[in-house]
């Protein structure tokens, strides 16, 4: 009895949670007459691809896609490099000022680049980097979160393995590459998924630091596109644009659902 009531509530909630996506998806295939008309909003009688064609032609989505890819992977690749070195130092070396440095790194978990929009803009303009993809990426090239996540994993690598590889004549980077990196594969995947989805979604920073379509990522492109077509008649087009932006993320999510969920879980256990 208990169970039945609760599961009914949860199934009802599940449907309610799912409706927004379903509705956007359906609207993106509807003609403007159907959107504004009094028909049942979760059904489309004359599905059309026109909205997608219109949206694709109305804004340079291909450029936005390209920019997002460059930014997201440009951030990730450098992050993987910096966090691997940093994590190794914190996990396996003893050095002067370790605690102080550790706390300084911790600071970035609290004061994330997202909230430093204003001073970072000034720094970028001093560096002459306003309206470049590099400026979108730079503040994220160090990731305290990644360093701590990876440090935990590196600590669990048996120290004997490290020593053994040294005795075999490995240089430190060879040990790092052949012993530590392979054993931390799940952590790298978790970090990569969190990083990519985070920066794919990032909006405020790229909004202020870019001024041209050449450098705008998808999120900013979508916002500007949506703003210029806010009237009801063009909803089909705007929803189509929205689907274009979220589709790769949703697809990746549905395919790699298990990894996604465990990555986000992983990422919480700091």
């Amino acid at each position: 009895m208990y169970k039945k009531i609760n599961f009914t509530i949860i199934i009802f909630l599940g449907i309610v949670f799912f409706i927004p996506l379903l509705w956007v998806f359906i609207t993106s295939f509807s003609t403007s007459k159907e959107v504004i008309g009094g028909s049942f909003p979760l059904w489309v009688s004359n599905p059309t691809f026109q909205n997608y064609i219109d949206a694709w032609n109305a804004a340079p989505f291909l450029t936005y896609y390209f920019n997002t890819f460059v930014i997201v992977f440009g951030i990730l690749i450098v992050q993987l490099f910096t966090i691997t070195l940093g994590a190794y130092a914190f996990a396996r070396l003893n050095f002067k000022g370790k605690n102080v440095l550790f706390i300084l790194f911790l600071l970035q978990l609290m004061i994330q680049p997202e909230i430093l929009l204003f001073p970072n803009y000034q720094i970028m303009s001093q560096l002459g980097l306003v309206d470049t993809k590099l400026a979108v990426m730079l503040p994220y090239w160090a990731s305290a979160f990644g360093v701590f996540l990876l440090r935990q994993t590196f600590k669990q690598v048996p120290f004997d393995l490290d020593q053994a590889s040294r005795i075999d004549g490995c240089k430190w980077w060879q040990t790092l590459w052949h012993v530590y990196v392979p054993s931390a594969k799940p952590t790298y995947i978790a970090f990569a998924l969190v990083s990519v989805s985070h920066h794919w979604s990032n909006f405020m920073w790229p909004l202020i630091i870019t001024n041209s379509d050449e450098n705008r990522p998808l999120t900013v492109g979508l916002a500007l596109f949506a703003q210029s077509y806010e009237t009801g008649a063009q909803w089909g087009m705007v929803t189509a644009g929205t689907i274009l932006v979220i589709f790769p993320l949703l697809l990746a999510f549905f395919i790699f659902q298990k990894q996604f969920v465990s990555s986000f879980m992983h990422s919480g256990i700091k």
Binding site: N94, M110, P113, I115, Q122, T219, Q257, F260
Partner: protein, 300 residues
């Protein structure tokens, strides 16, 4: 004697080498942290005490702080942040825990339901705003159409001072609940099984089990998620850009968006610096509170 001296000498040179090695490993991270976290933080503090255009800055003491703290809009924005937190955090945490407790059981369809609650997490907030803008649109929006079947028309959700905040809160609950649910699912998986077996043997009722075992044991998760949720409430403001621009009359404005307005719409640099310092202090104190008090009492 000789031996120990030698040993300590070797240790010293070894540690000097190791020190330099460690610093070099940390250098790449440190450069970017310094340039885009430490330096801008210090710069904001510095600029908050100086006024005037960038080229001719003049020391103005705490004048700009006074100005900001007596500003009606600033108070309203801070109040909004508090309302926003009170509106989103308890509800989404409660819902997340409730869903996790039930969806943790292996049942047909529970995986599908988990997906339905989690997918909003993957969608960028700006796209979420786009979707919900259409849900809340008067007359043609999904909500309006739904209400029309009951013969109601509903208010202009985003254009009305009395409804705009609640509309935002519902949207954020929709977006974040699944994210928090994941942490609870992880927390549930780590709970000791034997305690439950004992409780069932003793004839405890399901709600009693939840009240006396599950809820208290999930406390570390709850606190962690709470901190994440509160920080998110200060960090995530993308939706305002699409949905309301902080309006009507700043009823939905939040601190970070207010900084954006001050810095990039009104070009009031002193104010933007002061507001940034306020935000940094708020976030630091949330985390400090967590580490100093909550963490010690409950974690590990």
């Amino acid at each position: 004697m000789d031996n120990t001296q030698k040993a300590s000498k070797r240790k010293l040179s070894f540690s000097l080498k190791q020190n330099i090695f460690a610093y070099l490993l940390l250098l790449p991270s440190f450069i970017f942290l310094s340039l885009f976290t430490f330096y801008p933080t210090l710069k904001s503090i510095y600029l908050s005490f100086y006024s005037g255009p960038m080229t001719r800055l003049r020391f103005s003491g705490v004048d700009q702080y006074k100005e900001v703290f007596t500003d009606e809009i600033f108070r309203k924005v801070m109040m909004n942040n508090i309302i926003f937190i009170i509106g989103t955090v308890p509800t989404s945490l409660f819902l997340a825990m409730y869903l996790a407790v039930w969806l943790n059981k292996k049942m047909r369809g529970s995986a599908l339901l988990r997906t339905s609650f989690f997918y909003p997490t993957v969608i960028p907030l700006i796209a979420v705003a786009n979707i919900w803008l259409f849900i809340y649109t008067p007359q043609y929006g999904l909500l309006a159409k739904f209400l029309q079947t009951f013969g109601e028309n509903g208010p202009n959700w985003l254009g009305n001072q009395s409804t705009v905040m609640i509309a935002m809160i519902i949207m954020i609950i929709w977006k974040d609940t699944g994210f928090f649910m994941i942490f609870y699912l992880a927390g549930l998986q780590n709970l000791p099984k034997d305690v439950y077996e004992a409780a069932i043997m003793e004839g405890a009722k399901p709600f009693q089990i939840f009240r006396h075992i599950t809820f208290p044991l999930l406390m570390p998760t709850t606190l962690f998620v709470m901190i994440v949720a509160i920080t998110n409430a200060f960090k995530n403001v993308d939706h305002l850009y699409i949905m309301t621009k902080g309006g009507p009359d700043n009823t939905s404005n939040l601190l970070l968006y207010h900084i954006y307005e001050a810095a990039f719409t009104n070009w009031d640099l002193g104010k933007a610096a002061v507001l940034t310092v306020v935000l940094i202090v708020v976030l630091l104190s949330i985390t400090a509170f967590n580490y100093l008090f909550l963490d010690k009492k409950i974690h590990y």
